[in-house]
Subunit: 226 residues, 4 copies
């Protein structure tokens, strides 16, 4: 073997464990949700933006952020793919961010989720993740419409499901990321014209660049909170 090749090999052998160690040290975080999370890994999505912020802070090497969002998903869809899309990846932290479709589909297609069943499946998710010692952070659903005077058609129902999630957080002693409250507070200041869309969302639900940035900040704050 050539002397340079030997040297290179030696270096690789020395570095390899370090690389492996570094990988072991990375905190693996999965974002488990619907279309907002599916778009989260796009170039302008909130997960991409979280990576960018971490990079600026020089902390990107400490985290591995993984998107596990599928468009149209409700809580029971997450339950069905929990093993394949979350548990099998051995995450340290999982954000659960689901509920908009559970409410929205009630009038959109007649296929929403009853509140009692929503809680049942949500607690089913938590039980299985807790059994794997995963740190679970649960999020309240953001918005269907950006009006700040409580006149978006699904506001009452989203508030109801948000309360259910806050109750779950209390009951199971879980970290809560109260996105619905954050979004409402933000819009109270930034949507003085009481517009239906165009501030944090482009279509009343899916996020604008501003929306993705704001969500990234909220998620990151929750992640680093501990």
């Amino acid at each position: 073997m050539h002397v340079f090749a030997r040297k290179f090999l030696r270096i690789v052998i020395c570095i390899l464990p370090l690389v492996a160690m570094r990988q072991d040290n990375r905190l693996r975080v999965i974002f488990f949700g619907d279309s907002i999370t599916q778009a989260g890994v796009s170039p302008t999505g909130y997960i991409t933006k979280m990576n960018e912020i971490l990079k600026l802070k020089g902390q990107d090497s400490n985290y591995e952020l993984i998107g596990a969002g599928i468009s149209g998903d409700k809580v029971y869809d997450l339950f069905l793919r929990l093993e394949a899309d979350v548990l099998s990846k051995k995450p340290h932290v999982v954000f659960v961010y689901v509920g908009i479709n559970d409410v929205w589909h009630k009038t959109l297609s007649g296929t929403g989720t009853d509140p009692d069943k929503y809680v049942k499946f949500y607690e089913g998710l938590i039980k299985r993740m807790k059994a794997e010692n995963i740190r679970v952070i649960i999020c309240t659903p953001t918005v269907i419409g950006e009006r700040t005077d409580a006149s978006n058609p699904q506001d009452g129902d989203l508030n109801q499901y948000s309360k259910l999630i806050r109750d779950i957080a209390t009951r199971h002693n879980l970290q809560l990321c109260d996105l619905r409250k954050s979004f409402h507070d933000y819009l109270t200041h930034k949507n003085p014209e009481n517009k239906e869309k165009g501030v944090l969302t482009s279509d009343r639900v899916h996020l604008t660049d501003e929306g993705n940035r704001f969500l990234a900040e909220q998620m990151l704050e929750a992640l680093l909170q501990k």
Copy 2:
């Protein structure tokens, strides 16, 4: 003819025009609405209670209160029976109190009313009543659930339809009886436990005795306001 009979006849002849005049002077008020108004003429209903209050004030002879409520009615049902149930009775005043079923039936049976159509039919009602020089008082829908933290499932939608009605009042220069606001203010004080029902309603929608009394007061205040 016997002398007493003659005397009686003479008295009757003198009184008759007075009676007629008195009847002419009675203000004919129609309450046009859904099941809440249908129950309004029952012994414990809000229209019955309005009559009782007027009697206590010695003013019952000045008003004729007529219920025209049918269970399950939405705005377009009122439009269909406007001639038969309202215009034909030559009222001086009409309270329009409709909207709960327009919202509620969306998830109850898939047969609610789109907001733009709600406005169209509402304005159709008003146009035809204004052509008859009727004083029209329009009411915002009360409640579907009595929670005061904006978490009753239809709160957002009821708020939306209430805003549509307030806009109609402004646009057509009509008196507004803002029942949704009154109910909310009342419940904020009288429902400290944030109960879903049991204060003003027995089943989240239909009124308890307390509910009928409170509604009677609101309606009467609106009627006497002018």
Copy 3:
């Protein structure tokens, strides 16, 4: 006045009554419906095609075909605009072709029409048109999905509303144009693969060129039947 001008004037004076007479003799036919009828007056629409067929038969001068369709309309929307869009135009014949949205919107937006209300408004339409001595032809709703094995989700409901319309035809002694039956018979032969769309419709509801042609033939046959 110049001699030619005089001559021209004389000719015009002679022709004018003929023109007027010809106009008087044209049978004014209104098609009253939803988006399918709104598209009916487009270059490829069924009303345009009816005109083309009449032209080929040399009968186009005997008929004036008028489209009065608005996208999204249900039976009560027709009721609201009956005066403005139909009665004011003094038609001799009116085709009523409505019902798809009354069924479809139940799950699409939670704003369909209850069967009993559907009948009420339908009979309201008929009553007002009969009072004007209009020949009314009522149509059963066509399709939401083209499968022929009764497995399109709304098949049962469309069949129910079709029966309600057939009952109305019997009860009010009206001519029936049973489009649902015609479409089903046609598809039984022409859709051997049991496809959901692509034969008479492009999207399960709105018509292809073949659909418009077939509908034109059905409508024309009904019109000429008398």
Copy 4:
């Protein structure tokens, strides 16, 4: 120890294995479903009736029939409680009879199940039961309304979901119990007046005594078929 006690003990020791053997030989059959199955174990329910028929045939000692029905359940509810209510009981045979609520709740409460998700969860159920070597028999949904002319509002959707189930049976090589077909054939003969309810159901969905008897026969035939 007293001589009689000893004797008794000896007898018990001899009998015990026989009892155990007898239990081992019984075929454990679970009926997994919704309110119809929940009522199936009532004194007049279909599972009770199956036991009665087996008794008459002198075969009741060969079967253990267990009801696992919960009112309001849809396919994903079964998925959630599969382990607790089915797998943990080590059944040899499982009847899956679910789908009515998946369709019905679309307009009843806006919380039905999308067809693609219905299939996903259904196949999820099957996969887990097959892994336990359970003989799975899958049933098409019976009826929502007993009219035989395809005009019950949900007929199209029930037919659609029935086809999905038949496809699943083919794809997974499973025994099919085509209840929807059986009910339709039965009603074609026994419901000549095309009544909405009152033959096999008391309320368009839940079974009369006749309905329970007919269902018991269908289920038993499927069970004994192998």
